[in-house]
């Protein structure tokens, strides 16, 4: 049993922390968030130099083939630094491409740092269910025509290529009949309206008005994208759990520091038992969340390295075609990830709200870095499935009743 980062992961984490300390402090971040682009080209270049864009890409496409544990180390640092660059969106998009097979040229450009991706999955009616898809894909000669509206596509306006979910038949739920497409941003009929989210990150609403793509745009096979969508969303949720953990740790540290320095009634406020107990409970939340984020990363790393081979077509492509071991692995992955996203959400509320309360009046100002962590955490909670969604999904896995 070994749960510490290895030397390589630790070195990478240290390098990211040094970069953030030097170039990405609260003032620099504020300037980026309030700038017109909302992201920083210089920061992205540095992230590529550090190897972050290559990390999740398989080696055969010019990447480092880093697994979920390596990404756990990276995301914690980006969470701690409150980095607003389109990294999660790009990594998640790359995961779709990897799982779908093919698209090597795009993955190579991701690895090199000159292609950004975003995932256009959510719709107005779907809330947290990414399988509630009304976007339609009509087969045409040599390709597909896409119609639909996607909402709150994180970094949708910054991406060069969007991964879009659709169905052949129009509306519907469930795993069957889902098709995934890699759609270039300059496609005719694609309208992208960018805006700022409450945490300062950028998102976009995306309208597909008869967007034409050729058959090569398919990610995986037509109508069989359900398992890829399911697996990629778990990777995304795992990334967010690790990012949230880094943010919670930073927020926790800042709050603890405040309790030790802020004087009231002639003593540091941390001397008061009511505050001590709240902080102790936040410490427990942090450890429980860390445990679950780590468990999710381990389960994801196992799923990626598991049966079916690396990135091969149909690896996750058809539920029915997998052996029972693979089924068990998928169920274990879903259980671990949903448990983690739920538990991290619970901790994010306890630590986020607690930090604001313990900071007193200062806590409710935009001036304080703590407030920005709180907003990022609240955003993560509502991204890729909220607590209720993941609790429900956890209950739906066979492990929930089998354990009786």
């Amino acid at each position: 049993m070994h749960f510490e980062l290895n030397q390589e992961q630790q070195q990478l984490a240290d390098a990211i922390r040094r970069w953030i300390g030097r170039d990405y402090g609260p003032e620099a971040r504020r300037a980026i968030v309030h700038g017109e682009a909302g992201v920083s080209a210089a920061a992205w270049a540095t992230m590529a130099e550090l190897g972050l864009t290559a990390l999740p890409v398989p080696e055969e496409h010019g990447g480092f083939g880093g697994d979920a544990v390596a990404m756990f180390a990276v995301m914690q640092e980006l969470g701690r630094g409150l980095v607003v660059e389109p990294y999660v969106a790009t990594v998640l998009g790359a995961e779709f491409l990897r799982l779908g097979g093919g698209h090597g040229a795009l993955l190579e450009r991701v690895a090199a740092g000159d292609l950004k991706l975003a995932c256009a999955l959510g719709e107005r009616q779907s809330r947290h269910d990414a399988f509630d898809i009304a976007t339609r894909a009509e087969a045409t000669e040599g390709g597909y025509r896409l119609h639909g509206d996607k909402r709150v596509v994180v970094h949708g306006a910054e991406a060069d290529v969007l991964v879009v979910s659709a169905r052949d038949g129009g509306g519907g739920q469930g795993m069957d009949g889902v098709s995934l497409f890699a759609v270039p941003r300059d496609s005719a009929g694609l309208r992208i309206t960018g805006y700022r989210m409450l945490d300062g990150l950028r998102a976009a609403d995306v309208t597909l008005d008869g967007v034409m793509v050729d058959a090569g745009a398919l990610v995986g096979r037509a109508g069989e994208g359900g398992a890829i969508l399911d697996a990629a969303l778990d990777v995304g949720a795992g990334l967010l759990c690790a990012e949230a953990l880094g943010a919670m740790q930073a927020l926790f540290d800042a709050t603890l520091d405040y309790l030790k320095t802020r004087q009231q009634f002639g003593a540091p406020i941390g001397k008061f038992q009511a505050l001590q107990h709240r902080m102790a409970d936040m410490a427990i939340h942090l450890e429980q969340a860390r445990s679950m984020a780590l468990l999710a990363a381990l389960a994801l790393a196992r799923a990626r390295g598991g049966a079916g081979g690396e990135g091969g077509e149909g690896r996750e492509g058809s539920e029915g075609g997998m052996g029972s071991d693979a089924d068990a692995d998928v169920a274990a992955r879903r259980r671990a990830v949903s448990a983690a996203k739920y538990r991290v959400g619970l901790a994010a509320r306890a630590i986020g709200q607690g930090a604001i309360q313990l900071h007193g009046g200062m806590g409710v100002t935009d001036e304080l870095p703590a407030a920005h962590y709180f907003k990022r955490l609240a955003t993560i909670e509502l991204t890729l499935g909220d607590m209720d969604h993941h609790l429900e999904r956890f209950m739906a896995q066979p492990g929930f009743t089998e354990a009786a």
Partner: protein, 400 residues
């Protein structure tokens, strides 16, 4: 957590499972799984089965008869025993007084007591708490005055202990006593081993919420204790007591037992019906179970992370595990009560004690659950209340 264990760990687990399958008496297993009350003989019987296998004291060094397991193996063993429904090996002898005797006792004490503890020839109980000294343990008042007479050096002990678990069965009690009232309260305390059959020792039962006789008051009225029963040095008892507390391991989280109880809750909730459907499928009830299961998964992972770091006695971390572990245990008893519903209301002590084969009314497996719920309120109070544990985390871990 299979994905975290090595093949060797999993092989060890199989070995423990095979042992439990062949040696755990079904009637003991039944009592534990059904939340019935264990009697003295039940504990002794299981302890001696383990002793025969050399597994009664997993934490002891090999030289004193421990099996030489790694911390992970000990964790696996504890978990498998709990999952199987084995009675707990009571900690008072094996895990509390024995490590103190090993570390600070005389050669004679080691040679006499340790083999007897291993073989369960003496039933030990713990004499720490006093009516006026709960969480503020060091303010204890029971006095021990040193004297010499024709039979040699001895102590005269006067005072009262309370919350003494299962003292009604005990042969020996290890006590913190005040040997010097004139110094700082932590500095005048000694660690004394007292024979419960000594003249002047009186045990009075305290009935708990569920009417079970589990704890007692113990009175000392001019009790004569040979000086040879002093452990270590006079007035150094507080150090030894702290050493003992530092010995609390990750087992304090009781993950294995909670896993067994979670499975029980689910079985009950699959059987119980709400509007014709299994209660576990009810979104309200199911969500509570799921949330608790996730909390337990997280606790297990937290325990494994502590174990993986190989630290023997994690002070503030033990406090976290105690708080979270007991919160989960208590929440499980709440869910049991909720799942059983009105079936939990009949109260039948004769059934709980094993005097009757079946409950007088209602379902056998629902009958003990209210009692169990009441009984488990103790867990957030004993061993340093959870509020005290939060103080420890705040002060020792967070530096507040």
């Amino acid at each position: 957590m299979d994905l975290l264990y090595s093949d060797a760990d999993l092989a060890f687990r199989d070995q423990v499972r095979a042992f439990l399958a062949s040696t755990l008496p079904p009637e003991l297993q039944h009592k534990v799984r059904q939340h019935l009350r264990l009697q003295r003989d039940d504990y002794v019987r299981w302890h001696r089965i383990l002793a025969a296998q050399g597994w009664a004291a997993p934490g002891w060094p090999v030289e004193y008869g421990g099996p030489g397991w790694t911390p992970v193996q000990r964790h696996i063993f504890d978990e498998e025993c709990a999952l199987a429904g084995a009675p707990q090996v009571l900690p008072f002898g094996v895990n509390m007084v024995a490590p103190v005797i090993m570390a600070f006792g005389s050669q004679q004490q080691k040679e006499y007591y340790l083999p007897r503890i291993l073989a369960c020839e003496d039933w030990w109980c713990q004499g720490y708490s006093e009516p006026g000294a709960g969480s503020d343990l060091a303010s204890l008042k029971t006095s021990a005055r040193r004297a010499t007479d024709a039979d040699g050096e001895h102590y005269i002990v006067n005072g009262q202990k309370t919350w003494t678990t299962l003292a009604q069965h005990a042969d020996m009690i290890f006590c913190l006593v005040r040997t010097d009232p004139g110094v700082r309260k932590q500095e005048g305390i000694s660690f004394l081993l007292i024979d419960m059959r000594s003249p002047g020792v009186t045990v009075r039962p305290i009935a708990m919420l569920d009417e079970e006789h589990e704890v007692n008051e113990v009175f000392f009225d001019d009790v004569r204790v040979p000086a040879a029963n002093l452990v270590g040095q006079e007035n150094r008892g507080w150090t030894y007591a702290k050493y003992l507390l530092g010995h609390e391991r990750t087992g304090i989280a009781a993950v294995g037992r909670s896993k067994r109880e979670l499975a029980f809750v689910k079985r009950l909730a699959l059987r119980e019906r709400k509007r014709g459907r299994p209660l576990l499928d009810d979104p309200l009830f199911g969500a509570k179970v799921a949330a608790l299961e996730i909390e337990l998964m997280a606790l297990e992972m937290t325990v494994l992370r502590v174990l993986a770091r190989g630290e023997a006695a994690p002070g503030p971390e033990a406090s976290m595990l105690k708080i979270k572990g007991t919160e989960i245990q208590q929440a499980l008893t709440e869910l049991m009560l909720d799942a059983a519903g009105p079936q939990a209301l009949p109260f039948d002590p004769a059934y709980l004690d094993g005097a009757r084969q079946h409950a007088l009314a209602g379902d056998d497996d629902a009958a003990p659950l209210a009692s169990y719920y009441f009984n488990y309120r103790k867990t957030s109070i004993y061993g340093g209340s959870n509020e005290i544990q939060r103080n420890i985390i705040a002060q020792m871990m967070l530096g507040l």
